[in-house]
Amino acid sequence: MPALIDIRRRIRSVRNTEQITKAMKMVSAAKLRRAQESMFAARPYARKMMEVLNSLAARADPAGHPLLAERAGDRLLIVIITADKGLCGGFNAAIVRAATEFLGEQRERDIALTLVGRKGREHFRRRDHEIRSEHVGLFQKLQYASARRIAAELIEIYTRGEIDQVFLVFNEFKTVIQQRVVVERLLPIEKLTPTGVTSPFDYVYEPEPGAIFDRLLPKYVEIQVWHALLESAAAEHGARMSAMDAATNNAGEMIDRLTLYMNKVRQAAITKEIIEVVSGAGGD
């Protein structure tokens, strides 16, 4: 039978852990709220951008642009977005699994990786993949400039013709407790729907539609990357929050169990002492 003091020590340690997980849950909840806010904040920009692009596509000839042209080649670049930190349930594992699966499907093609987030880097570095670039520590303070930098890099590699297609793999925020891994093609840009109807106005353009269109397409790529980063950040905080919530609950249960056990042990000790005393008294 373990000594009472050991059980007490154990309870104290579990209680400490419980407090930590509880605090982490609170922090994640606050961060999640902020991440969701920035997700909502980015929406009007993205929506307007789509509207203008589509209405421009009707006016300017979109076929000629290099970011839209489908190429026959077999070289893929896969951008994998993971978190920088762990302790967020299956968040990183799910991404890594989905990415590995996708890599398996595309095995006969020439694949390079761009890794965003420390966890993905840790995993894929140790394996036999060509790694184009790495971006870590973005999620501490997520800024649009990061999305711009990544997009610029991708566009540059793509237009130089080193890569024929670019895919994004990231966690999408569905609900607080649910994430979904998304594999999405970033480049070439999926066909725009040239609808002149979205905008009932015939604009005066400055500079001419074609030139605006050329300027907007790279921005569109930036927005896609930004969107993926925001989704991933929100999903990460959601996942961490629910993981820490579960951990807190488990710790609570464990404390209850240990407390019960401790009481039993204590009672047993008392009973034993009484028996000793009684039997000692009776023996005389």
């Binding site: 904040a41 980015a42 009007p44 993205a46 203008v52 005066v204 353009y205 605006i212």
Partner: protein, 141 residues
């Protein structure tokens, strides 16, 4: 459009990817287009322009207010102006010390650039910092 129907006010909205910067009814707007500044009064013809770097200014009840903006585009309709800037700040929010620091850093970067490669980026950073610095003077003016 007949005189009677002409709108009196413009609804100005400035949006960046990081969020809504402002939304207000204003009397007029001056916007830094890619090909130069242009002014908008209520009842302007539908107009779509790419944006350069500079100051957006708008008038409201006789007072002028300023924002900085950097790249993006602008949609003008008779009764509203939607500005989608890649980055931007209200002049009131600009941190003068921060801007000065950014300017100094940009100058250093410009000095370090030796070839075409990094020049565009460095000069962009420099112009952004100078724009911000110039805008902070508006607060006293």
């Amino acid at each position: 459009m007949s005189e009677a129907k002409l709108p009196r006010k413009l609804l100005l909205e400035v949006v960046t990817p990081e969020g809504l910067l402002m939304r207000d009814e204003v009397d007029d707007v001056v916007v830094p287009g890619a090909l130069g500044y242009f002014g908008v009064l209520p009842g302007h013809a539908p107009f779509l322009s790419a944006l350069g770097m500079g100051e957006i200014s708008y008038g409201k009840q006789g007072a002028r207010r300023y924002l900085t903006c950097c790249a993006g585009f602008c949609e003008v309709l008779p009764d509203r102006v939607n500005i989608l800037a890649e980055a931007g700040e209200r002049v009131e929010d600009i941190d003068a010390a921060h801007v000065e620091e950014a300017r100094a850093r940009a100058v250093e970067r410009l000095k370090a650039v030796r070839d075409e490669e990094g020049y565009e980026e460095a000069s962009q950073a420099y112009r952004a910092a100078v724009t911000g610095k110039a805008a902070t003077r508006r607060r006293r003016g």
